[in-house]
Amino acid sequence: MKVVFDHLAVRYPFWSLTANGVFSPGIHLVSGDVGSGKSTLALMMAGLRAPDDGAVIREGVNRIMLSFQFPEFHVTGLSIAEECASWNLEPDAVIRSAGIDTDEETPVLSLSRGELKRLHLSCILSLDYDLLLLDEPFSSLDCLGKEQVCRQISKRSGGITVLFTHEQSIFPQIDHIWELIGGGLVDCGDMPGAVLNWQHAPPLVKKLICVGRIPRSLTNNDIMEAACRTRG
C-alpha cells in the first residue's frame, strides 16, 4: 500500500505548489505555514482536486477519508444520533469517546466548534481507512482534546495516516516528516533523524537538537525524555 506524488504541480496566478514523494503505511506529518498549500495537497491526495500537472498514484488504497479543517463540512445529519448513523456508528459510543456532555437528540450544529470537532474525529477515528488524511486535526481543540486525539491516532494500526498541520506543541507517534517550503514538498525523512532536517520544528525540539538530544519521536513523553536525558 502506498501513495505516490508523481511530479505533482498546482498553479495559481500568484502561487504554485510542486510535490514528489512516496507515502508508505505509517503516520506522516506534513507541516507548513498557514497558506503554504497543506489543504490543497490533502485535497489532491484524497482525489477531490485534480493536479494541474503530474499525478497522485494510489496503490492498494481503497478506503479514503479526508477530514476537513472545519468539522461543519462533514455534517449531513441534524441531530447527533442522525450524524452518527450517517457514519454507521452508535451515538452512545461516539458521545462517550468524544467526551461530550450531551444527549443524542441534540442538534449537531448547536455544539461548539470544539465539541463538533471532537465528535467528528471520534467518528472517523472509530473507522478503518486505508488512507486517512487529517487536515488541521487539532484546530479548535484544547490541550486535553489534542492529547486525546493524538492517543487515538497513535493507536491506528495499518494504513497510511497523514496529518496536515502547523501544530507546534502536541503530536502523536509520528513515523515520517514532510514540510512545505517555498511552494515545494520537502521530504525530511523517517523519525528520529527527520527532526534534523525539519525547518518547521518546534522551538523546544530545535533546542534539544542544539544540545545533541534528539527525541525518539514527537510525543510529549519522548520530548520530555530527551530533555531529561543525561549524557552517558
Binding site: I64, E72, F73, L78
Partner: protein, 218 residues
C-alpha cells in the same frame, strides 16, 4: 444593466409578465435574449438545468393528468427562471442596500436593503455548502442521488438559520439597532432606460391582448 434600481424594476415587471400569460412569457424570453449576456449571465448552469428538469416533470404531470396547461406552465416558469438567473448574476450585495435606502429611506429602506443583501450573500454561499455536503455524503460511503437532496436541504436550511442567528448577534453586539446612513449614487446609461421601457412593454403585452392595441382595425 448598471443601474440596480432599473434592474430590480425590470425583474419585477418581467416576472409579472411571465407569470401573467404565455404571450408575456415569450416577450420576456425575447427581452432576455436582447438585453442580457444570455448564457454568460447564468452562474450555476447545473442548478438551472436541474430546475428546468423539475419544471418539465411538473409540466408533464399537469398535462397527463389534465390538471392544467403544462406547456404554458413550462414556458412561463422558464421565463421567470431566466430573469431570476440574470438578476442574481448581475447583482452585488450592496446593490440592494443602495436601492432600499433610495426607495424607502435610511431606516426601513436601509434595513430591507441590508436583509436582501445578506440573503444574496447567503445564496452565493449555499452552492459551496451544497458541494461540501455532497462530498461529505460520498466520503461516508453513501451514494449521492435524489434521495440525498432532502437530508442535504435540511442541513443547508438549518445551517442558514443558525448563521442568520449568529449574524444577528454580531450586529447587536456592534450596537446595531435599525437603519443607517447611506448616500447611494447610481449610473443610468441610455441602454438601461431602453431595456426598462421594453420590460414595461412586455408587461403591457402580457396583460392587454395585442388585438386591443389595434382595436380600430378589427
Amino acid at each position: 444593466m448598471q443601474d440596480p434600481r432599473l434592474r430590480l424594476l425590470c425583474a419585477f415587471m418581467l416576472s409579472l409578465a411571465a407569470f401573467a400569460s404565455i404571450t408575456g412569457a415569450v416577450a420576456v424570453v425575447v427581452w432576455w435574449m436582447v438585453f442580457t449576456p444570455r448564457w454568460r449571465s447564468i452562474r450555476h448552469r447545473h442548478a438551472l438545468i436541474a430546475t428546468l428538469v423539475l419544471f418539465g416533470i411538473v409540466a408533464g404531470v399537469m398535462t397527463l393528468t389534465g390538471s392544467g396547461d403544462g406547456l404554458s406552465y413550462l414556458v412561463r416558469m422558464i421565463a421567470i427562471l431566466l430573469v431570476g438567473s440574470w438578476v442574481y448574476a448581475e447583482s452585488a450585495a450592496d446593490d440592494f442596500l443602495a436601492v432600499g435606502t433610495w426607495c424607502l429611506g435610511t431606516r426601513i429602506g436601509f434595513e430591507v436593503g441590508m436583509i436582501a443583501g445578506m440573503a444574496m450573500q447567503m445564496a452565493a454561499g449555499l452552492s459551496d455548502d451544497f458541494r461540501r455536503i455532497r462530498i461529505a455524503i460520498q466520503q461516508k460511503g453513501q451514494s449521492w442521488g435524489t434521495r440525498s437532496i432532502v437530508p442535504a436541504g435540511r442541513v443547508l436550511i438549518h445551517d442558514a438559520i443558525r448563521r442568520a442567528d449568529e449574524t444577528a448577534e454580531v450586529l447587536a453586539m456592534r450596537g446595531y439597532r435599525n437603519g443607517g446612513t447611506m448616500c447611494p449614487h447610481f449610473h443610468t446609461p441610455v441602454r438601461d432606460v431602453v431595456a426598462g421601457t421594453c420590460a414595461a412593454v412586455a408587461l403591457a403585452l402580457a396583460y392587454f391582448p395585442v388585438s386591443e392595441f389595434f382595436i380600430l382595425y378589427r
